[in-house]
Symmetry: C2
Subunit: 167 residues, 2 copies
Amino acid sequence: MENPLIPPLNFSMAAPGIYRSGYPNSMNHAFMKKLRLKTILYLCPEEYSESNTAWCETNGVRVVQCGILPNKEPFQFIPDDVVADALRVLLDRRNHPVLMHCNSGKHRSGVVIGSMRKMQQWSLTSIFDEYRRFAGSKVRILDQQFIELFRVDTVKYDKRCAPRWLK
Amino acid sequence: MENPLIPPLNFSMAAPGIYRSGYPNSMNHAFMKKLRLKTILYLCPEEYSESNTAWCETNGVRVVQCGILPNKEPFQFIPDDVVADALRVLLDRRNHPVLMHCNSGKHRSGVVIGSMRKMQQWSLTSIFDEYRRFAGSKVRILDQQFIELFRVDTVKYDKRCAPRWLK
């Protein structure tokens, strides 16, 4: 058998054109090549890893960074406007296929996808169930609260370039 | 706000054109309409529910049944050939978009998707991690063993109609 393909941690397809995961490393590059990505949406404030930056350059993948600090009790809250920025990138089909990732693929990615589900009008029960599927025993109430309170009308995305499934 | 959309239990996108979930009911029909399904692949041996049958007729969705009895220790084993049949339906893009479902969206669906991941050459670690994400505390060793031993060369699918991401 050939070498197996190794998706990044917590990898999943969230919607047509949109993938989510934890932080990829060089062991994941062969897998990622199969996705024919156009964009990587990187959700951490730290500088992007050298190995991923080099891989993206070689493969013509654009890296967009929306640096988010995760929710942390009692005083660190994810700001609404950065999530709205991330959603604007995610919901522009000119960027598709896009892989969005944070570190573990649990919290920041979960918050952005949960907010996207709100725009898709999913029930909160379904949104939280999907969030929990990735966060496992690390569910954060503040993340769920963010999603519950997130106002979808603050996302000023370009409707002409929105994916068909959002309409 | 309009009525929220309710995806079926354990709903997820497994790959372009392929969705998986637990058994849908009438509360999920508005959500399912948005998927513009062509096919439902039903993995249980029992007759399909009246409400889903009627919905599929109204919406021009073809129902294909591959009845599988779940793994159950000590003597009930999922047969390889029915899983190969299910994969043949799943991997024909003329059937896409397709929603595959069993009862809970955990075990039978997990086995079929896990076997598909093997065809995609995913590492077993990644396959089992995805399986566990849906099965939660109900992980079945026999399911994982099925996936590990499954011989992908027994799936006689039509390569001309296979999705691009499989090639």
